[in-house]
Symmetry: D2
């Protein structure tokens, strides 16, 4: 399988189409919509196994909301973006549970590492109702949906697979659907903390590789899993690799029919670059200096989105 | 039952003895040890139901380590304090599981509220081994104990009782013992972030009240629970109440045989004071301004203690 | 002079009136206005030396804006509160400089201590224009006021009196007016991070004591100083003292003509209580657990207020 | 002048030597010393104008301390590194003032932006004595040096050139020497928060460009300025540029005598790459995910170093 190095279905589709010179991919449908000049929504639907194989993502819906200039967004625009996410989320949740089905919100990531803290921060802002409905039902309107929220931490600091932790909790408190918030990798710097991907297929790292250890999905938890993914990092080596591709393309265009360069282009230089650039023990990322503000804004958007949808 | 308004067995015993003019309490044994001029260890053992009833804590061992001047402690002293905690913890853990019995460390509290963040911060510093033993056994010495760690959050932000979350995780990953780190209330300002209480009875809020909903103990989890509690707050109303008691004592000593004041002394003025002092919707605490530094220091002590004990 | 233990002119006036059974104080004028059900504005004007002596504050205007329920305020209400502050600030600034007079905003306090970090946090949010007007004048509208901002730190961490630091900067960059943001002490818990006091008399600690070392005012800086003060702490001993006063009043009402208690009431128990309660080396405060959120909200209010006023 | 894109004299010297195929540069002397297996010290001395022009740094001493594996350093190693820095600093300070000459420590950078917060954090840890010597001389040993510290903020949030702020303070409190702590750019990822550069030439951005506006040096402040610089970032575009250079070298080695590629190599691709990679309004950096921990460690090293040297 092609190594996409992005978790966004929309980017994978573009890469696959371009690499294979296709106008369309069998098993993948896509539509775009401009909400306003700053917000765009793209809907990618993987409809069969061919689509699955092409871009290495399971069948299901993938909705990408791009918010331009989130960094400098005013209060109103954050509200607007939250509202749009709320609408999309409502629709995708309604496909799987009724309006009273209990929901567990899960914020993945490490709250002590800024670019990885978005999940836990969002969790902290969720208006949970489960305990109020259980202990103080007179304080909530009848028919209010039970919502609970947890930030289980990451394997490196817990020593436990997140899927194992969630399996235990789900089996014990019996929600009807899980919403997982996760930081994603993207190929595009513009998308850092400015794009939201919604999907109903859960989180399936290393899709198709047969390793379901880390999978957070209906298969492992037994209930539907809606994933909200936000790109927060671009790997340096990916950037440089993309840059070298552009460079070689330029060389080829000017120095035509150079076998050696043709061959180079077909190689995947990623591991080599990574080896060269990244010193042992370092975990390098490209991040905007303004990451803290961006994450504050995005936290508000996603929390508003979820709260409104509930 | 007497309302002690402290979670420290050692303080409760002092209050009970003084209030009842006792030299000793049936069912409670206690010994003190001065480790050095800055560190003192007190061991309280509750041996029967009478002891339980007297101070409202379940039978078991309660070890209090007082560290003077932790706030201004140097690196070496932090090391020393960590070592002493490690020794006590090793002993108490060894009473319940063998040296290879898997342990789950649980940090209670809210990482986003400074005086309540000690549990999650400690959790973050635990050297977890469970995932390494499972996936990369060649990187750890044979016989290494499996350790995992989690910070489950608080009811107000998760909507789920912490005991429920832990029950689910324990049933799914099967540790042999749980260590819980918790922020406690104390009556003494000197003890804020300067005292550690170790016990093997778990965490039993509202002991004896018949409400086991929040209990984190062998009864609810099915495995032994060692609790590490650190006082981080003193309630304002407790302080003022204590102060009024002192004041009335003074009045009585000087204005002898005043029935009215005698009567007052017997009343519990706490609710009244709390009502008067605490405006609605506020959750007031007395805290040293230096709480952040104190917590940094205490985090290092507790994490070192646990890591060394493992 | 009476020891008010509050920096709010409005509270001092109330205390002085009550203690002296006065309907009005010569040299002090006051009016109240309810902006809406959540926001009240009180204007205290000290008009002569008698008023100065009565409440220990220099002649000038003191405007107190009380914002109820700031803790749970929504975005709109924060906007509204910011707008009201902006209006009051505009008026008070206009008394001293014209609309183009350069302003230096100074955030007092320690950014590393939560209840003391409001000044520096506000400073960080000020829209400074001085460098843009100097280097990129084409990017700002003609007539834009020069604004700069600094957070000079506190004596304990700088070793330099704040007034000395500011004197040096003012003499070098020549603003026409200074706005100082400062954390205040109040006697009322409800006012923690919910009240703003505006005044045009600068900051004069230990007013009237003849020690002008710490004074940040026209006298020391040579230009007008507008102060924005926000109560962020109430001292525990003040609370307990107030409580004891109430208690003794109650005793007296019921056990009439008790000379001993009369005498007690006249004593200032503060130092005694402080001695008893506060262990050496600790700097105790009563603070709402939600202080971080309160400060976030208040930061937005004050920054919006200043930005709009400029 | 060659565009070095590093603030380290040591890296500039290497680049210049390599680019010009020199064994030695007239006007630059250098010696290396291995303190232990983890710590290396390099001393570069620029002795004349030729050396100045070659690497674009003013005449003076530049000492680089490289600390390997700082990220995972234990307490003892941090102590050791602090001690070495202390020794170098003592020597360089003693060249300019006597042992009682008052010193002002200045931490440049923005405390609210993690990779830029090192200066302010160090400042906060400095043991200042100026106010104690002034107000409580009985509490310090006779002959104690006056030390004060300030974190003046950055132009973007203050609107005032840092040199202007410092000029005002220096003129008002009259220290004999300034120590400036600053975050630097480096070409090498290994050096992020692991290298310290000491120099006695102050901070001269855009050296030789004739713009002394931002210069913090004896020329602008009138007293000697010792600079402590720590690389905290590497620009993405620099990385990619370096990578392309390596790549082209490889192409050339294999596809010899290719005029086109030779020409490419001579071009500076930096602006082009930056243009391509960096979207407008973003300020991209390459940073280790562990930046917070690294900075904690480095803060301790530098603060210990300064405190010991005083």
């Amino acid at each position: 399988m092609y190594n996409f190095r992005t978790d966004l279905a929309s980017e994978r589709r573009d890469i696959y189409q371009k690499a294979n010179n296709l106008e369309q991919i069998d098993g993948i449908e896509a539509t775009k919509e401009d909400i306003n000049e700053n917000i765009k929504v793209e809907r990618v639907k993987i409809t069969n196994e061919n689509g699955e194989k092409a871009i290495g993502k399971p069948m299901g819906d993938y909705i990408t909301i791009d918010i331009q200039k989130l960094k400098i967004a005013q209060e109103e625009e954050l509200e607007k973006a939250g509202e749009i996410l709320a609408n999309e989320l409502k629709t995708i949740v309604a496909k799987h549970v009724d309006s009273q089905g209990e929901i567990l919100v899960v914020g993945l990531g490490n709250s002590y590492v800024t670019p990885d803290s978005l999940g836990p921060k969002v969790t902290n802002e969720i208006e949970v109702t489960r305990h109020i409905i259980n202990y103080l039902p007179q304080y909530v309107e009848e028919g209010t949906r039970m919502v609970s929220a947890i930030a289980p931490g990451v394997l490196g600091t817990t020593g436990i697979e997140t899927a194992e932790i969630l399996k235990g909790i789900v089996d014990n408190i019996h929600p009807k659907l899980v919403i997982v918030i996760d930081a994603l990798a993207s190929r595009s710097i513009e998308r850092i903390s400015s794009t939201v991907q919604l999907s109903d297929t859960g989180i399936v790292p290393g899709a198709g590789v047969g390793n379901t250890r880390n999978e957070i999905s209906q298969k492992t938890l037994g209930i539907p899993v809606v994933a909200i993914g936000i790109p927060t990092v671009v790997e340096t080596a990916v950037l440089v690799n993309d840059c070298l591709d552009l460079f070689i393309t330029k060389l080829q265009e000017e120095a035509k029919s150079n076998d050696y360069l043709n061959q180079l282009k077909q190689e995947d230089n990623y591991e080599e670059i990574k080896e060269a650039l990244v010193p042992k023990d370092y975990n390098l990322i490209v991040t905007p200096k303004e990451i803290d503000d961006l994450i504050e804004n995005m936290t508000q958007v996603v929390a508003t989105g979820i709260n409104r949808a509930m």
